[in-house]
Symmetry: C2
């Protein structure tokens, strides 16, 4: 594929240069017809859509941030603590850098820099991306209201910001399970998800070749990558939770830190004291990580080791600038459990942990539900802002009903649009396969697009800079019967075009200048009649 290929006709990659030539912020330019200015939209597809770039998955993407990281003089190479130079035939074959970490005692997080008053190249990059001033980005990151998830060992990633005063982001989950899919498939899913607009990608693999799969994904990903390190820790001990312990978990954090994972979901808020409430609830604990930790506490009679070792985790996180995504192990898994005691008690704990992480200069987001009916979403959002001191909220949906399996991308888009408007910063996508099975390529695309639409609806309602431009461009194209521009301004131009052509008679299909659509036909076209009224 060269450029955006067939998926985004008349779209072109463009870059806006910052205060130094190596700050090159990508956008997608949608070329419109007539006298209309081209529309510039946020773009997360990475160099793959730049026709001047020749992709080589075996080598990985260029390390655009390497000089910025090195230039700060606060990191050092070190021998890897784990054997990442696997000789497996599945090992990543490209450039093998020695992992970086902070010099002893240093915090190398964007939050620390921001609090020191420094506008980093990363901050300038995201400011250009978001149409705001760099100082605004710095202030939001310094206050903990926004995060820039960028591990110093993932120099390939293009900086992005997650915070409620910025464009609402979406995450796509990929990853194999014991039941299937290969490394190639997962790398392809990552590329595919970012082509359609996933702002971050989580690799939730629990199957074979976890380390190698992740390495291939990180080296080739233009977006931040998140993981749930608990899954790999458990895998290392043959999926038998009896063997779980802090040391095993810590080593897994460091292994993934050295690979360049940008944010970790850590279920440190699931506490012994909340287990009785969780046992009372209608559907128990539906978070994988949450249920594993709860089971471990029950079996071992001890407090969650992620909680008791939380300060040691902070030391690791700040040495690589890995962002916390504090997991909501107690998220409600059904409408009946929404905003219950288990959930809200954990939320308070996550707030306490946020304060501790901030002491270390660590960036923090808070994960949220789950299944929540429309009338309980605002309460949840408001409590999160209060209890977690405005740290960005990152929700899975919420799904506004339990009984729509097969269409849960839609129940999630409904809840996601609403909670995004109320203040959530990133929506985790849900695909049509939710509750039923692993998504395939089509499901990933559908999940991404539907949540991009939800996020965009939230941005319009919040008045995020630039959001309205796209709707204005579409409105004008619609009023002027510029059909090709209408297709290209949607989130899925080929589908829009295909739908229109399907309802035109064959002899009309090659024309693109009809002043009506087949919903009403020409005589009844309100757009055509409106134009006549305007002339009157």
């Amino acid at each position: 594929m060269s450029g955006y290929g067939k998926y985004f006709p008349r779209s072109e990659k463009m870059y806006v240069e910052g205060s130094r030539p190596d700050i090159r912020v990508p956008f997608r330019k949608i070329k419109l017809h007539g006298e209309n200015e081209d529309l510039r939209v946020y773009d997360v597809s990475g160099p793959y859509t730049d026709p001047a770039y020749e992709p080589d998955l075996k080598q990985g993407l260029p390390a655009i941030r390497a000089d910025w990281i090195a230039g700060r003089g606060d990191v050092e190479e070190h021998a890897s603590g784990v054997d990442i130079l696997s000789n497996s035939d599945k090992a990543f074959q490209g450039l093998r850098r020695r992992p970086l970490r902070a010099k002893p005692g240093q915090s190398v997080t964007q939050m620390t820099y921001a609090q020191q008053g420094v506008v980093t190249p990363e901050m300038e990059f995201v400011a250009i991306r978001e149409w705001v001033e760099p100082e605004f980005v710095r202030a939001e990151v310094a206050a903990g209201r926004a995060v820039i998830p960028l591990n110093i060992n993932h120099p390939e990633a293009e900086p992005m910001v997650i915070g409620r005063k910025f464009r609402t982001k979406i995450n796509a989950n990929i990853g194999n399970s014991a039941l299937g899919s290969s490394i190639e498939e997962e790398v392809d899913k990552m590329q595919w998800a970012t082509l359609w607009g996933a702002d971050t990608v989580m690799d939730l693999s629990t199957g074979a070749d976890i380390h190698d799969t992740r390495e291939w994904i990180v080296r080739n990903s233009p977006t931040p990558i998140g993981t749930v390190p608990l899954y790999q820790a458990l895998k290392k001990i043959g999926d038998n939770a009896d063997g779980l312990c802090w040391e095993l978990y810590r080593d897994t954090l460091i292994e993934q830190a050295e690979q360049g994972i940008d944010y970790f979901t850590i279920h440190a808020g699931v506490l012994k004291k909340d287990i009785p409430a969780a046992k009372e609830r209608k559907l128990g604990i539906v978070s994988r990580g949450g249920s594993i930790m709860a089971k471990w506490m029950v079996d071992n009679g001890q407090e969650n080791f992620l909680y008791t070792h939380f300060r040691e985790i902070c030391e690791i996180m700040r040495a690589y600038d890995i962002t916390f995504s504090l997991g909501d192990g107690m998220r409600p898994g059904c409408i009946a459990d929404a905003n219950d005691e288990a959930q809200l008690s954990e939320l308070k704990t996550l707030g306490e942990l946020t304060k501790i992480a901030w002491e270390y200069g660590c960036q923090v987001m808070i994960e949220g539900p789950g299944h929540v009916p429309l009338d309980k979403i605002k309460i949840n959002m408001d409590k999160q802002l209060e209890d977690c001191f405005e740290a960005p909220f990152y929700t899975l949906g919420p799904l506004v009903t339990d009984c729509a399996a097969g269409y849960d991308h839609i129940t999630s888009a409904i809840g996601g649009a609403v909670i995004g408007w109320y203040g959530t910063s990133m929506l985790c996508y849900v695909t049509p396969k939710e509750h039923l099975g692993l998504p395939n390529r089509d499901d990933v695309k559908e999940g991404v697009i539907v949540h991009k639409i939800a996020a965009h609806a939230a941005d319009l309602a919040k008045g995020i800079p630039g959001a309205m431009d796209r709707d204005e461009a579409m409105r004008k194209a619609r009023g002027e019967f510029r059909w090709v521009d209408q297709f290209n301004l949607t989130f899925d131009p080929l589908r829009a075009k295909e739908y229109r052509l399907a309802s035109l008679p064959p002899e009309e299909r090659d024309k693109t200048d009809q002043h009506y659509c087949s919903m009403c036909g020409e005589q009844y076209c309100s757009m055509r009649i409106s134009a006549e009224i305007r002339k009157s």
Copy 2:
């Protein structure tokens, strides 16, 4: 097809009898496994899903309300004012009743009966359907907060109520345009839409054989049918709006009244005084009917004849008990025009007209937008309740962004769920083809299901009686790994099943008792672990 056929496995038609044996209220019973009580859900699919019924489209459905209507002694047969006994080979072949209308000076509307303190069989029927007391239905209809759209010439329809204290309803639009589709296709679309759950169907035909198409649809429809009579009026004069006049329109109203149309969209609120504001807006008038009437006013320099003849229209409506659906000719067609002067000025006019219609005992709903961003939906809803004295609101979406053509069923589901929660009584569906072309069968199904989900999400948030039962049943089935029950509790059992099977290895596909799904695999299944914790 016998019963619900392959579409709803383990579903059975059942009836609840009212105070007299001819009040038989249909439900769909979903049979669950184990000790679990069967779930009874609202059902609009009509006799077609009753295995004891032998459908004959050429004869039409049984006239279940004929005795109730005749029993009130306030109607009389009369010679048709129009030649409905067409000799066309497309004419409806079944029973040709002589049309009924009220005896001179009488109002035969459900509102009039309700205001007289009478609980009609129709009211009792809908009370059983909605799990409420008949007196509650009567009081809501008497106050104008709810409507029961039932033309005395559509005795085949199963009574249903539209009001914000009842289950949120959805409407599916069908109808041919100049560009295609036949009578058979439209009748099939009507049946298909009600199978999936459309509570009412609007026939928006503007193409050939309007009268005959409508007759076939009405005679075979178990749900109320709505139309926009203006379309046919215009068709009669060769689509040339110059010839539009009150007499032509009036005759069309009577023709459709005699056929049994249950509600009419009437664009009586588009006034001369609002045209300057409409010319100022970004996308003009996007309502077909609104634009036609505005053009007529501009061309003729006269006030809207639907407004100047409104009291005569009321006389017709109450003689057949046709419900007003006061059209929003000024609905916003883009985000930028939402809640603008043209829209809100018309809304006030619709409120004035509501008061007049109520003087005559006519039932009234108010149509609403359109394109509205999330932050402006509540304002619109609140103004509607205030300006229109709580008459039911019936909205098209609203779509929460302009730029998602190809996915506008989803932008509409987002806005529809939210406005339904705030107080809208019926959502008009939007299909994936919106803005692009006429929906086909798959689009109709997708549009109906997605809006049923939105309506159900609104009902959960509003606490509508019975709504939570389905989510509770699903929650329990999920916790107990009853996969088949989970499929059957969704809005589209076959899709749910197909999605699950697609991600299972072939050797697992015949089993239905796996205690995990392929999203996480067995070891990582939170449901399984949760069950273990609960036992601890």
